[in-house]
């Protein structure tokens, strides 16, 4: 089992390596101007340079922090909101429509308003990140609640379980696969929005690095940032997978 997992991971990395080779080839053949698309070799060199002489590490940590806090806030608020709406007719009638109105608002247009209301603070940035990252979780939770096997709700009713107990013991665990998939999505959304916020609201982080590199037409530096984002995405997804494996062990038992 364990050895197989490692082998699969290696194979998966080989596939990614193949794609990187294709990228190198595209760069070598100059399919796109090297000013905009550097080869992986140059991007890697820029990455190493960024870590050794620049403050890329600091920027990375900044972005990771924004992502983590924003995502946590989005997860907690998203699950709570989704659970409320999913389990209450009242919330569905009064609150859900307003949310549907907020959902399509682009973060880049929200930021000026958020700045006006909350100031140019970290709190504002986290609010904006959470605002953008909350939707996959909210929708997935609402759906998960709606898709619970009706027989289980009947079991809960016949046990006269309290509403909180029904949510905590029946609906949430049953919706967990949906919620985790939503959280997985919103994790990357949070990462992307951290970068966007750093670009638009001038916070310190990879977003600034990417922005300044793009502005200065230093594409190798820009791709160094992109590589870091990719690596972050991959590592967080491994963490997500581990959590999923633990929490959804019963699902694998069913197979």
């Amino acid at each position: 089992m364990n050895r197989a997992a490692i082998l699969w991971r290696v194979a998966s990395i080989l596939v990614a390596a193949g794609l990187i080779a294709a990228w190198q080839l595209a760069a070598n053949l100059r399919l796109v101007s090297p000013v905009f698309l550097p080869g992986p070799d140059r991007a890697w060199a820029a990455l190493v340079r960024g870590f050794s002489s620049g403050d890329l590490a600091g920027k990375l940590i900044g972005t990771l922090e924004h992502m983590a806090y924003g995502w946590l806030a989005a997860s907690i608020a998203g699950i709570a909101l989704g659970a409320l709406i999913g389990s209450s007719k009242m919330m569905r009638a009064y609150v859900a429509p307003s949310l549907e109105f907020l959902r399509p608002l682009p973060v880049s247009a929200i930021i000026p308003v958020a700045i006006a209301m909350l100031g140019l603070t970290r709190g504002m940035a986290l609010f904006v990140i959470a605002f953008g990252a909350i939707w996959p979780i909210v929708l997935a939770t609402i759906h998960g609640f709606a898709a619970v096997e009706p027989r289980l709700y009947e079991v809960a009713r016949s046990l006269q379980m309290s509403r909180a107990a029904i949510i905590g013991k029946i609906a949430l665990p049953s919706a967990l696969p949906d919620i985790l998939a939503g959280m997985r999505l919103s994790l990357t959304v949070a990462l992307i929005l951290s970068v966007v916020c750093e670009i638009l609201a001038g916070l310190d982080g990879l977003g600034q690095w990417v922005l300044l590199s793009a502005r200065a037409f230093r594409s190798a530096d820009l791709f160094a940032g992109v590589i870091l984002l990719g690596a972050t995405g991959y590592l967080t997804s491994i963490a997500m997978s581990l959590v999923e494996q633990r929490l959804l062990a019963w699902q694998t038992a069913a197979r």
């Binding site: 096997e149 027989r151 289980l152 009947e154 079991v155 009713r157 016949s158 046990l159 006269q160 379980m161 107990a165 013991k169 029946i170 665990p173 049953s174 967990l176 959804l248 019963w250 699902q251 038992a253 069913a254």
Partner: protein
């Protein structure tokens, strides 16, 4: 004696006599009348069995008694009050056992759910779960997920969860349908002795006529399209029942034949 007091007394007397009552209960679902004008009274402590052809409305009647459906007209009352919601002292064993278990909880966890609902402290649960699992013949399977259990094991697990509820009334929908003869007989006797000891009221749906007669104080046969009562037999067999003696009792055989003829007649 005032009139009010007299009425009160009369009500108390009636209450003594019936726990669950169907009064001209009718249920329409999806444009069809599933149950029509059902009149049925279940006395406290009684063991009532319901039989009938497949699709005649046994499950539906049970769900009415459980409060999972509300009658379209007429009434279903528990202890004199209309049933609007399931009650904690009433436990239900569902026919589709596979769907009524929490797939993300182990066998122990599924039983624990009922204990949690009645606020049994955590440290007492372990022992009670173990006792219940033993009672239904599943000792040592506490850590299995439902998906790792056989059909019969899942069915027994559901029964264990209902017993954990310590109900005063048990509604059982073909609870032994997936069990082999021996396991089934064991559980029949288990249920009989449990309910007898605690004076539990039981409505028991089954398609096994022998089982209905063996267990019941009374057997009701439903007619289909729409569901209504077609036959009602009092079972005058001595208690405690015995798997060999009871089943050979002439009264048993007589009742069996009577029911058999009834069911046969209802078949199209």
């Amino acid at each position: 004696m005032s009139i009010v007091a007299m009425l009160d007394e009369a009500r108390a007397a009636r209450r003594q006599k019936t726990l669950i009552a169907f009064n001209a209960a009718t249920l329409r679902l999806g444009g069809k009348t599933i149950i029509e004008n059902l009149d049925l009274e279940v006395r406290p402590g009684e063991f009532l069995c319901i039989v009938g052809a497949s699709g005649c409305g046994k499950t539906t009647a049970l769900r009415l008694a459980a409060g999972l459906y509300r009658p379209t007209s007429g009434a279903v009352t528990f202890d004199g009050e209309p049933i609007t919601e399931p009650r904690r002292e009433v436990a239900i064993v569902f026919q589709d056992y596979g769907k009524a278990l929490l797939p993300w909880r182990t066998a122990a966890g599924n039983i624990s759910l009922a204990l949690e609902a009645s606020r049994v402290p955590a440290r007492e649960r372990g022992a009670r779960i173990e006792a219940l699992l033993r009672k239904v013949g599943l000792p040592g399977h506490a850590d299995k997920y439902p998906s790792e259990m056989s059909g019969g094991m899942q069915q027994r697990l559901q029964i264990a969860r209902c017993l954990a509820q310590e109900p005063t009334t048990l509604l059982m929908d073909e609870p032994f349908g997936a069990l082999d003869a021996m396991t089934r007989q064991g559980l029949q006797d288990e249920v009989l002795s449990l309910t007898h000891a605690s004076q539990t009221t039981v409505i028991f749906v089954t398609h096994d006529l022998d089982e209905a007669i063996y267990l019941g104080d009374r057997v009701v046969g439903l007619l289909p399209h729409p569901g209504r009562i077609g036959i009602e037999l009092d079972v005058d067999l001595p208690r405690p029942r015995d798997q060999l003696a009871t089943r050979e009792h002439p009264e048993f055989l007589r009742l069996r034949r009577q029911l058999f003829d009834f069911i046969k007649a209802t078949e199209h």
